[in-house]
């Protein structure tokens, strides 16, 4: 398996990071909603501890992926109309934007609410801000709107991959597969 991305195939680092992120997001969304619903308890704090740790991991992976994209190239989009290409690019840009916005707004929310983040109980993350009620509320709004948006964009992303695979029968899904 090649390391660098080619015109027709994603390299293994891109594939690995993509599927690892997919698995993390699959855990993160229900985990966040579930923990948020719990009454305050040690379990709630522990689950949020995991949610924050995994979220920061997603942020790091997203940054790595962006750098890796910039350092090399990415496979070309298949033949499609101008509008379809623009929509595909918009969708992927939104996914990256949300993979940055969700962890960052979560981190900001924690800092503004005076709660430290112990990343996987190993590293203390610096506070992004001191206690700040207004900022906490804004960050919370951003986090909540972002996750709804992510659910929509993910549905489109997965739907599009399946459409390529089963309707259009092209190599889009296969080139991200192993």
């Amino acid at each position: 398996m090649n390391m660098r991305n080619t015109e027709q195939q994603w390299g293994w680092p891109s594939k690995f990071l993509h599927w690892l992120t997919a698995a993390l997001i699959l855990v993160q969304i229900p985990l966040g909603f579930y923990a948020d619903d719990l009454a305050n308890s040690p379990l709630k704090l522990e689950l949020f501890g995991w949610h924050k740790s995994l979220g920061i991991l997603v942020l790091m992976l997203a940054i790595m992926r962006l750098l890796w994209r910039m350092a090399g190239s990415i496979p070309t989009l298949p033949d499609a109309s101008f509008i379809q290409r623009r929509l595909a690019n918009l969708g992927h840009s939104l996914l990256y934007g949300l993979m940055l916005a969700l962890p960052l707004s979560g981190w900001l929310m924690s800092s503004a609410a005076n709660r430290p983040i112990n990343w996987f109980w190993i590293v203390e993350l610096p506070a992004l801000t001191g206690p700040n009620k207004a900022l906490k509320e804004i960050a919370e709004e951003v986090h909540e709107i972002s996750v709804i948006l992510l659910l929509v964009v993910l549905a489109v992303h997965i739907g599009a991959a399946l459409w390529h695979q089963f309707k259009r029968r092209d190599s889009i899904l296969r080139r991200m597969w192993f």
Partner: protein, 190 residues
């Protein structure tokens, strides 16, 4: 009658003189009573915004804390710690420390230890409060007392139920204080 009045008037200043019962009181401005606990292994700080200290050198140290004034810089945390699981401020709004003995530590004349009972959340436990007493060189009527001690929240049933384990919120609570004190010269001055 005249003599009687005269004698009263003459004794009045005596009552107002600074005596062995020299007393100091805390000045709310600039005074701090802070606490720190671990949140998932990392420190998280709070402070009591309203408290008072009365100190009679070599005699007594009295501390009164409005537990409901505890502030952890976040509305959710503040309402959580007021719950029955934590401070239960609805039932126990006040904490007091009253010294039974007050001793200078051997190593330095400015170091003291007040041993007494801390009454918190309806539990009275013996506690030793070490403190440093620094009188203002320019204004002998002012002084700063500061110190630090560690308490176990479990001794006072703070953080009960699932919180007992101390896994997410640590058991040890570090309490520190910097209190500006004012000498109470006489009854007429305030």
């Amino acid at each position: 009658m005249k003599i009687f009045l005269k004698s009263i008037l003459l004794t009045l200043p005596l009552l107002c003189l600074p005596s062995t019962a020299e007393q100091w009181r805390s000045v709310a401005t600039d005074s701090q009573l802070n606490y720190e606990v671990t949140f998932q292994g990392l420190p998280i700080a709070g402070q009591f915004k309203r408290f008072s200290v009365i100190y009679s050198p070599a005699a007594k140290l009295l501390v009164n804390v409005d537990v409901g004034s505890a502030d952890m810089s976040d509305d959710e945390l503040n309402s959580e710690i007021a719950n029955p699981d934590w401070f239960d401020t609805g039932r126990f709004s006040e904490a007091t420390f009253s010294s039974e003995s007050l001793n200078a530590q051997s190593n330095a004349s400015q170091d003291f230890i007040a041993a007494g009972n801390l009454n918190l959340k309806g539990v009275s436990e013996p506690v030793k409060v070490p403190f440093l007493w620094r009188q203002d060189a320019e204004n002998p009527g002012r002084a700063i007392m500061s110190g630090q001690l560690t308490l176990q929240r479990s001794d006072f049933s703070i953080g009960i139920g699932d919180w007992c384990s101390g896994e997410q919120i640590g058991i040890d609570v570090s309490v520190s204080f910097i209190v500006h004190m004012q000498r109470q010269t006489d009854e007429l001055s305030h």
